[in-house]
Symmetry: C2
Subunit: 416 residues, 2 copies
């Protein structure tokens, strides 16, 4: 009897994680002789631990195909990091017990750095316990911080969203700057690395284009230099557009967003670095401002996803299944940028043990000397990742996204 | 010698105000025998008052055609309301002097309620002063509050943006609600009327669809009822998505966004009702939350504009020129919804004197009894306005929007 697959989505979802799921399931369905069912964990890995397995064979080909253009995590995702085997052997044993019961021979874990680490731990544990399990990590993260892979599915689409958004907002503000708003602040995600904020920078093709200033978590916030830059932009261009990463910190290493905002009842006001920056500009320079916080909209914006990103997300899901069927184990398929004149890419793989606990930071030469912009090298890296539009179908003026049936299999293990 | 046109953009810009400009200029160019040049005011009506006239004949056909898909106000807009003739006769005389000097026989004023009022005043003044001037107001406002016209250009595209955005964000939050964010708050524009927040409601096709709660400025914010509703949504759906209009007020008639947020220095924190709502939910119900503020992104989002909206914006610009050439004066072209089974529309006109100082509010029967949603009647009204996608062209992964040359004519009047 051919072995089944267990697929789980992990961590913060993206506009294209379901495209990876689509790649996994469609590819598995093409290899029905070699592989059995694809079970998906309800809400990620906890679905396996709680024995809540979605039987994807109950979903129509049409529904699975629609995953390619549906944002969010169709099977549910979770932020749940399994501890080490030493700390929590029970959990690993429970997992293997469930896998055994459902004849699961393949575990595909679709997530960021932590998930790759978990996939690796499970690979090692299953090997030691003598249970034959193919463990493959599939990259996913808008943070773009996984090593080895040239790009991470999810990032290209956020990048496109923020670049398009700041370009559009810039046209708006430029129209009215003479008599109205002078400074616009757009907050984007990125608590540790500035990839997303940097991506907004690709919208600026020449001097004066939006955004005028990018505030990255890699650069300690220097109030004086920042205010000088804002002033000089307003003097030169009549207005100033600023993209700020949520992770920007002050000289003491404190998040600017935690800078003491309190509501009327004295409760700390959580989140939102954009209003902090906007207020600073208002109080020190007196300019009229507006601010936006993209929050989840940026990572859910499937309507403006990057085609390259969608294609890579799908291809990595497909590759995971193909590698698994070829007998590869404890690996993560990756995107390799080919050395061609125009951008092209291919799939390769790395060992999970190499990926685990390594973070990819923005190279120093991606940030301009003044710390407020991106270099040509950064542009050349990011721009290919936002190429192409991959519009979802629309009905009644709205994108048609699929909600799956998510049929759970009846539990077979009585003892928890 | 045929008379010239003066066209000005007024008030907050939209994703489609340039489509109207495109309609005006392309139509004028088709009637070269009857009409001369189209001058546009640099930054709106103040361009005429300051004698800063853009000669649109210097722009290529291609550039003008690109206005159809370029957001913002290509000639610049302003928030500038001319006082009454009694209060500021000088300004009116200055305007007529400029019009005379540039042989302007047509004044097209593209704006909201205030601008229609101004257009009407100028029509009356020019008549009294014996200067033959055709004054036509062209509707534009994301606020959708102009009377007589079934819809206002700009609104349909904002409506589409907010409906698409909350649907997408809903898919994201639903994926992770079991272990992460339970409540998501999205703030949209609308200080006086809830049209935009209501528009987000069309994304909800059946019970449980996003958004779960809409907070409208028409409904006094009732904290207890609101918190009960949030709790019941979380209990029923695992999460709760909320769209809040910036104009929501408390029982004392105070904007919720002004509810006393202060930064670390004790400065009042301006704007942002979303964090206020989110904080309230956190403090009273303890749910993990996220919030987004769309701000200018919503009215600049040409990438997801409604085709119906773009078509109407263009058609109204075209109609303004055609009415003008037919000798109509002191009117505003409007959109009339035809009494057909499927939505269709035509252009008609109303007298400016009827439009001036009349605001269109949301009918009471558009709001559900509990005050947190929209009715079928509201849905039937809004849904046709977001139909169709009208994607701009892309290059290098980004929309290609046009920046005009904006060649100013040399000033002819020396005395200010």
């Amino acid at each position: 009897m051919s072995k089944n697959i267990f697929y789980a989505q992990s961590g913060g979802v993206t506009a294209v994680i379901n495209a990876t799921a689509c790649g996994v399931i469609e590819t598995a369905r093409k290899h029905k002789r070699k592989v059995g069912k694809v079970y998906a964990g309800l809400n990620g890995i906890v679905g396996a631990l709680n024995e809540e397995l979605i039987d994807t064979s109950k979903e129509s080909a049409q529904a699975i195909s629609a995953l390619r253009y549906t944002p969010g995590g169709a099977f549910g995702s979770c932020r749940y990091k399994m501890k080490s085997v030493e700390e929590n052997r029970d959990e690993y044993e429970k997992l293997i017990r469930v896998f055994k019961k459902y004849n699961i021979g393949y575990f595909f874990y679709n997530g960021g750095g932590d998930s790759q680490d978990t996939a690796n731990k499970i690979a090692e544990f299953s090997k030691k316990s003598g249970y034959p399990l193919t463990c493959i990590g599939i990259p996913k993260t808008i943070d773009n911080d996984l090593p080895f892979t040239d790009s991470c599915p999810g990032f290209g689409s956020v990048a496109k969203y923020v670049a398009v958004s700041i370009r559009e907002a810039g046209f708006d503000i430029a129209s009215m700057a003479k008599t109205s708003t002078k400074v616009f602040v757009m907050e984007v995600m990125g608590r540790h690395a500035g990839w997303i904020a940097a991506a907004a920078g690709v919208a600026a093709e020449k001097a004066g284009d939006d955004p005028h200033i990018i505030l990255l978590p890699e650069v300690v916030f220097d109030e004086t230099k920042f205010l000088e830059k804002v002033k000089s932009c307003v003097e030169r261009y009549d207005y100033c557009t600023i993209v700020v990463s949520e992770g920007v910190k002050d000289t003491e290493g404190k998040f600017l967003s935690d800078s003491g905002l309190k509501d009327a009842f004295g409760h700390a006001q959580l989140g939102g670095v954009a209003p902090v920056i906007a207020n600073l500009v208002k109080n020190k320079l007196g300019y009229k401002y507006h601010w936006a916080v993209c929050d989840y909209l940026q990572r859910a914006a499937r309507h403006i996803a990057s085609k390259v990103d969608v294609d890579q997300a799908y291809a990595l899901g497909k590759a995971a299944v193909e590698y698994g069927l070829k007998g590869e184990n404890a690996i993560m398929p990756i995107i390799v940028r080919k050395k061609t004149k125009t951008y092209s890419w291919k799939i390769d793989k790395v060992k999970l043990s190499q990926v685990a606990n390594v973070e990819k930071f923005m190279p120093k030469n991606f940030i301009t000397k003044d710390g407020f912009g991106i270099t040509k090298a950064c542009r050349n890296y990011i721009l290919p990742l936002i190429q192409g539009e991959d519009y979802p179908p629309y009905k009644n003026g709205l994108p048609v996204y699929v909600k799956l049936k998510k049929s759970l299999v009846s539990k077979k293990i009585t003892i928890k």
